[in-house]
């Protein structure tokens, strides 16, 4: 990365009279392998780098991006952008940014086993072994789509307030989509494993075991599963389910840009309003955090893409809203400081408010203790289909690895129970939270153009009381 390009762009915009400017150079080196039904369908390596610049001119935000390394081209693009922003400022909503401390920092995640030291052959071996583990189960698996990728993201961020941040974050990501046929029925499973780490994380996953467990679990469900029960039931949810719930119905509606309506035509709004900080929205055992500083979390970072220092945030503490996710714009609107939640997925996208590692914080129960007190209920360990409305008020989760609970004991598997529930009912129904912890990776979509960004969701298991199944 030629850092002088960012310095040049910043100086040029300052000379043009902008009230604030930030410039970010970013490079991403990506390797990807996809094995489909035992055949290496796709291998790729790619590198991209470029410059993203955001500024305030006459109270209007302008953003521009280019992968050109020619200063004259960058200058021309800046001038075009300024003309457009100046015209737009006649129809603007005045944007202000919260006052934040400036930093000069460099940070990186140290790779114990460097991604660059692992040959394509070794990476592929993990996939081939995974496929073999599936075939060794002798289960009918007509669809086996397994992909492994790694990425190194390097950023150089500067702004007109004196902040300079250098960062280097490695990512490793496994995702798979499996189809299992058994007893004339079929089930499909998609999941991801991801961390910010060197290759040591991949070595720790034991991919063949993951695949074998997935396949045998689905087979068992299709072979022995019965119809889900109906009526009022208690539900014990594992971290994969609590994770997706936390992400969809807490993380997203707590994004302040949605609350203020900025994403209304894209990812939608929120059922919450800005005056709800301090309001009770869940049971007392409910605490939900968003913590970008969590080491190895797929949503890890120490400074956000506005140069604000990241920190652990309590979105809900003991059932009460503590804070929303903010960037400098929404923080300014609420008269507070940003909590460092602004990210872009590459140099060519504007930074917007994103979740990082969003988790249901641990409680006091073991999963066994939660199950023991259930007279009639369901254990939901993972899921297939899910969705939620764009205000994040009502959601659906279709269970996959699920079991009937009767008088405190786990009985037979049940096939695809459907939990369709409103957000207030969901978070008020929790009466116990587990002391276990799992972080699960995902790519979350938001913005226009769409930006998918790495996040973790998960945390502890939990128990929901009195849920209606019809």
């Amino acid at each position: 990365m030629d850092k002088s390009l960012a310095d040049f762009a910043l100086r040029h915009l300052e000379k043009k009279g902008v009230s604030y400017v930030e410039a970010k150079l970013e490079s991403q080196e990506v390797n990807e392998f996809l094995l489909k039904n035992s055949i290496l369908e796709s291998s790729s390596f790619s590198s991209n780098s470029g410059l993203g610049i955001r500024y305030l001119f006459n109270g209007t935000l302008g953003f521009l991006s280019t992968n050109s390394s020619e200063k004259e081209k960058i200058k021309r693009l800046i001038n075009k952008s300024l003309i457009l922003t100046n015209k737009a400022s006649k129809y603007k909503e005045d944007i202000t940014l919260s006052k934040e401390r400036s930093y000069k920092r460099s940070y990186k995640i140290k790779q114990k086993i460097k991604l660059a030291d692992i040959s394509p052959e070794e990476k592929l071996k993990d996939l081939v072994d995974a496929d073999k583990a599936i075939l060794d189960t002798k289960v009918n698996t007509p669809g086996r789509y397994i992909a492994l990728s790694d990425k190194i993201s390097k950023k150089y961020f500067i702004n007109s307030e004196g902040t300079v941040i250098n960062s280097e974050i490695p990512y490793v990501d496994l995702h798979y989509f499996l189809t299992v046929n058994e007893n004339g029925k079929s089930s499909q499973r998609y999941w991801e494993h991801g961390e910010t780490s060197g290759w040591e994380a991949v070595n720790g996953w034991d991919i063949p075991s993951i695949m074998k467990d997935e396949i045998l679990t689905i087979k068992n469900n299709l072979e022995k599963g019965k119809k889900p029960p109906k009526g009022i039931l208690d539900v014990v949810i594992g971290p994969q389910i609590s994770g997706i719930m936390v992400h969809e119905s807490v993380g997203h509606p707590y994004e302040a840009d949605r609350i203020f309506g900025r994403e209304a035509a894209q990812a939608g709004e929120s059922f919450l309003s800005e005056d709800m900080v301090g309001k009770k929205v869940g049971s007392e055992v409910l605490t939900i955090i968003d913590d970008p500083t969590l080491k190895s979390g797929f949503g890890f970072y120490l400074y956000d893409d506005e140069g604000v220092k990241a920190r652990k945030k309590y979105l809900i503490k003991n059932g009460v809203i503590t804070e929303f996710l903010h960037n400098r714009e929404t923080a300014s609107r609420m008269g507070i400081k940003s909590n460092g939640s602004s990210r872009a997925n590459n140099y060519d996208k504007e930074p917007i408010i994103r979740m990082s590692n969003t988790l249901l914080e641990k409680g006091d129960y073991s999963e066994e203790e939660m199950i023991k007190d259930v007279k009639s209920g369901i254990l939901m360990k993972n899921f297939t289909e899910w969705n939620i409305d764009d205000k994040r008020f009502q959601q659906k989760y279709v269970g996959l690895d699920c079991y009937l609970i009767k008088n405190g004991e786990i009985k037979h598997p049940i096939i695809k129970p459907i939990l369709e529930i409103t957000t207030p009912y969901l978070w008020n129904s929790i009466d116990a939270v587990g002391k276990n912890f799992e972080g699960h990776s995902a790519h979350c979509g938001k913005g226009e153009p769409m930006q998918d960004i790495p996040v973790w969701h998960g945390g502890a298991s939990a128990r929901l009381k009195n849920i209606r199944f019809i």
Binding site: I39, L40, E41, S42, S43, S46, S47, N48, G62, F63, L64, S65, T66, N67, K73, L77, K80, L84, T85, A88, K90, Y91, K92, E93, I95, P120, E121, L124, G143, Y145, F177, T179, S186, S187, Q188, G261, R262, A264, A265, Q266, A267, G268, D348, E350, T384, E385, W386, N387, I388, D389, D390, F393, Q394, I418, E420, T422, Y425, S429, G445, F469
Partner: protein, 439 residues
């Protein structure tokens, strides 16, 4: 020497066999607006080269963003090192063999797409919405142009220009009453910003004070915007890549009745106003119009040269760099007008937007999707009142088979979530399952 040829020649010298080089240069502008005000401008410029290359049946996809000879030489060394470690791909059967004669075809192109009075166009649309009774509008206005050049090792050297205008507007009367409309076009002539404003404003006004919907079976009228989401799912399901991956509800159904006789889905890359119009696919094979589904029968999967050879058929001219993909999806219009469809319904729901379409099982087609913005209960041919908090929970094949009417009013549109454009009219589907939260 021109950069693409330099790369091709250098790769050839190193023993690479099939080579596809796609060079794309693009420029774009965006205005993002919220609450009737412009809140951000965006300006972008990008040059990129994507490559598909093979050596000894080993296949690799990669890209280049720096075009100096020195960068290219380093890149080729890295490529050589990378590809030799890959196993052979026995599923790979080669790329299209040129040279080709392409049809005399020129897609619609707006030369001055970046020089339009963007703010005036946007203001017109916002005012049209407000005049319909909306209080607030949000969305994006976006224009771009691109030049795509394609060079292959098999005597293909072609280029195409494209332009795109896109306006997406969500209008609100209050927090619970909204309407969404958008338009995507290659030319200003077909870019009806007034329609977008009026339509989103009209739906928002109609949807004031929604009541909770009730679960049950309903006949549903999908506006073009929500049906474009479903058409994109069907189009993507028809790619042989999806079929092989377990991601298709059309697997094992070739030449079978998969939909009502009223339903035909076309992929027409030569539709000159189609946003993805092109006379060549990404291996240089000439493209052509084809019925994916004709009168309800699944006519073809989408293929490139390699997958066509594997399945002993002809390429459909749908090669993407990795997998076959649809170009311009077109739902064949029917004869009935949109308003007339309502008279066919005793108990139904009118849906104006969808999002969050997710499958329990892509192979069986079990899925659900969320109505968004104005949704309306229909009784005895008339809209009764707006409804909320419902979900369509059904099966894609069931929906396709239950299509009763297709209207005669097509528009080119795309939803925020699926991002796949389609040219589609409104569609009436009978007996669809609607669910709602039980707790």
């Amino acid at each position: 020497m021109e950069i693409k040829n330099y790369i091709k020649n250098e790769l050839k010298k190193k023993g690479f066999e099939d080579i596809v080089i796609v060079k794309t240069g693009s420029e774009s502008k965006q205005l993002k607006f919220s609450k009737n005000k412009i809140i951000k401008t965006e300006t972008g410029s990008s040059d990129d080269i994507s490559l598909f290359i093979t050596k000894n049946k080993r296949v690799l996809y990669t890209n280049l963003k720096e075009f100096s000879k020195q960068s290219i030489d380093i890149f080729i060394k890295k490529t050589l090192k990378f590809i030799k470690n890959l196993p052979e791909n026995n599923n790979y059967y080669g790329i299209a063999e040129g040279p080709f004669k392409y049809k005399q075809f020129r897609s619609s192109y707006e030369k001055k797409v970046l020089d339009l009075d963007d703010i005036d166009l946007l203001q017109k649309s916002i005012n049209s919405s407000l005049n319909e009774g909306a209080k607030r509008t949000d969305g994006v206005y976006e224009v771009s142009r691109a030049k795509i050049e394609l060079l292959t090792s098999n005597k293909v050297d072609v280029e195409e220009f494209s332009s795109s205008l896109y306006l997406s507007m969500r209008s609100f009367v209050n927090k619970e009453s909204s309407g969404h409309s958008n338009i995507i076009s290659r030319t200003l002539k077909n870019f009806d910003v007034d329609y977008v404003g009026k339509n989103s404003g009209r739906i928002a006004k109609l949807s004031i004070n929604p009541k909770d919907g009730k679960k049950g079976k309903y006949d549903i009228i999908f506006d073009p915007l929500p049906f474009s989401c479903l058409a994109a799912e069907i189009g993507n399901s028809s790619s042989i890549f999806s079929v092989e991956s377990g991601l298709s509800f059309l697997a094992d159904k070739l030449k079978k009745q998969v939909a009502s006789k009223k339903f035909s889905l076309i992929d027409d890359p030569l539709y000159k106003d189609g946003i993805q119009a092109t006379k060549f696919d990404l291996e240089g094979a000439p493209t052509r119009k084809k019925y994916i589904i004709e009168d309800g029968i699944l006519n073809t999967y989408l293929h490139n040269t390699s997958t066509a050879k594997k399945y002993k058929t002809q390429t459909t001219g749908n090669a993407g760099l990795i997998a076959p993909q649809p170009w311009n999806l077109i739902v064949k219009p029917g004869k009935i007008n949109h308003e007339h469809m309502f008279s066919h319904i005793k108990k139904g729901v009118y849906i104006t937007n969808l999002w969050y379409t997710r499958f329990t099982n892509h192979f069986t087609g079990d899925f659900s999707t969320m109505p968004r913005d104005g949704a309306f209960l229909i009784e005895n041919g008339e809209i009764k009142y707006p409804i909320k908090n419902i979900r369509i929970s059904d099966n894609m094949l069931n929906i396709m088979k239950n299509i009763k009417e297709v209207s005669n009013n097509s528009i080119q549109t795309k939803s925020w979530e699926s991002q796949e454009p389609a040219i589609t009219p409104s569609v009436l589907v009978s007996n669809i399952n609607i669910t709602k939260p039980a707790s």
